[in-house]
Amino acid sequence: MSRWAQRKAAIKAESDYDSLTTIPMIEFQDPKPQLVVERIAEAFKSVNARRIYVADPYLNETDVDLVRRMFDGVFDREVTIITRFDNVPAEPLTLCSKCRSDTAEVKGTAGGKSRSERRSDVVTVVKNTVVDLTNKRIFKSLRILVANVKFHDRFIFCYDDGSKGLLLWCGTSLNHFMSQYSGIVRISNRSFKRQVVKFIELVESDSKSLDSLLAEIENA
């Protein structure tokens, strides 16, 4: 191999920048969430994604709208969000007067509401957003699956028949999108994608709807 060819091969191997394998806060001095939303939207559009799964154990009131912004560019998509609403802390939350930490270990009450009341509030807002989007037929279907199994990782995935699928692994929750130096990683490993499909199948068979979750909270 000539020295030019050697140099070219070495540089090609190093030059593998991928706009979907990145730490946005490192890539940009002032990252705008919208920028990554647009990149994700474009990437899923270019693989012609129709069935999309978003997994995040936490789900905030505003997260459904974030998912909507990522995927509303194409009509007739089936979007499923897998969550546990784990973000409402196990114990009622207030700020610790000494360390200003907002971790869940500190006991107290927030706005005079118990944990189950606040959890019920979040789930109700999410449910209303889903109903609204469904009535407007923005998606062919928009489902929220509340997983019974515990899970931790966050990802965005599509696997339509006959396509290789697009899998993005997200370093943080949707509601911390683009903050805390979190990254997103595009995963092309096929075996790993098949494992993700098995995880989705597992949740499909062992999950509850928003209504059952609301009933459960009420009866607790």
Partner: protein, 277 residues
């Protein structure tokens, strides 16, 4: 400028006048070509692009001394040309893996590149917006060919263009071929056409002229390699496959608008269609 040849030269420099990219093209002028006789500068943030048409003597001296001096009224900039060099011939080939700046021409090229392989692989992605501007304005392709970063190339395009097509009509079945030689530099050169059909090779050679040649082989070739040698030197080589069938997968896109929370969402409605031509 001798015999109507200019060396179209461009260099991209950072704020320390370090060479980010450069090339010079030996360009034989036609009646319509313009000439830029002094250095022009355009800035893109901390990156600056300089361009000018030099004469052959100047470029030979640059290659010899490994220094390109940009003279302006009040200052001059000395650009260091990398020490390592290598020559190559750029073909017109469907599987060519080297960047060829000329759409349908072959070219001889001499690359100048740094000897030590220290390379900042993130430079292009860190400066991608600036490079995108520079590339669209000056027709460069550094970001898609990162190995061209920190190099200087001297191109000599061969002004010969091939016109080839398969035929199946009253003249017979085979192909027709013609060469355009606008400066009449290669008349009488040896043209060798190797046409492949189902693994069988049909060879035909002729002396290059301005005529169209019809060659009846009994079949439209699947792929063709054409070489032109002039004064014992290869000046043109192309290899390509002929399209016999095109499969088209098209998306029919229409739009739908929905109002949601005070904003209008535009949705594409995509229908897939596949057909053969």
């Amino acid at each position: 400028m001798s015999e109507g040849v200019v060396c179209r030269t461009i260099v991209v420099l950072d704020s320390d006048n370090r060479l980010l990219y450069g090339h010079s093209i030996f360009w034989k002028l036609s009646a319509l070509d313009y000439v830029v006789r002094s250095w022009k500068k355009k800035k893109f943030g901390h990156i600056a692009v300089y361009f000018s048409d030099l004469d052959e003597f100047e470029i030979h001296s640059v290659m010899e001394s490994r220094q390109l001096v940009l003279n302006f009224e009040s200052e001059s900039i000395v650009v260091v040309i990398p020490s390592e060099s290598e020559e190559a011939f750029l073909e017109q080939s469907y599987d060519a893996d080297e960047y060829n700046p000329f759409g349908s021409l072959c070219a001889a090229v001499k690359y100048f590149f740094p000897a030590n392989a220290k390379f900042d692989a993130d430079y292009l992605s860190d400066n991608k917006e600036r490079f995108a501007q520079i590339e669209s304005e000056f027709g460069l392709s550094v970001s898609t060919c990162p190995h061209l970063l920190e190099t200087f190339s001297v191109y000599t395009p061969i002004r010969l263009e091939e016109d080839f097509r398969g035929i199946e009509d009253h003249r017979g079945t085979g192909y027709e071929i013609a060469f355009s030689d606008p400066f009449s530099l290669y008349q009488g050169a040896n043209v060798l056409v190797q046409a492949m059909t189902d693994g069988a090779v049909n060879e035909h050679s002729y002396s290059l002229d301005k005529e169209q040649h019809v060659v009846v082989t009994g079949s439209v070739p699947d792929s063709v390699v054409t070489s032109v040698t002039f004064a014992g030197k290869l000046v043109f080589r192309s290899s390509f496959s002929l399209l016999k069938k095109i499969s088209i997968s098209s998306s029919i896109v229409s739009q739908r608008h929905v109002e949601h929370k005070g904003e209008v969402i535009t949705q594409s409605i995509i229908e897939k269609r596949s057909f053969d031509v």
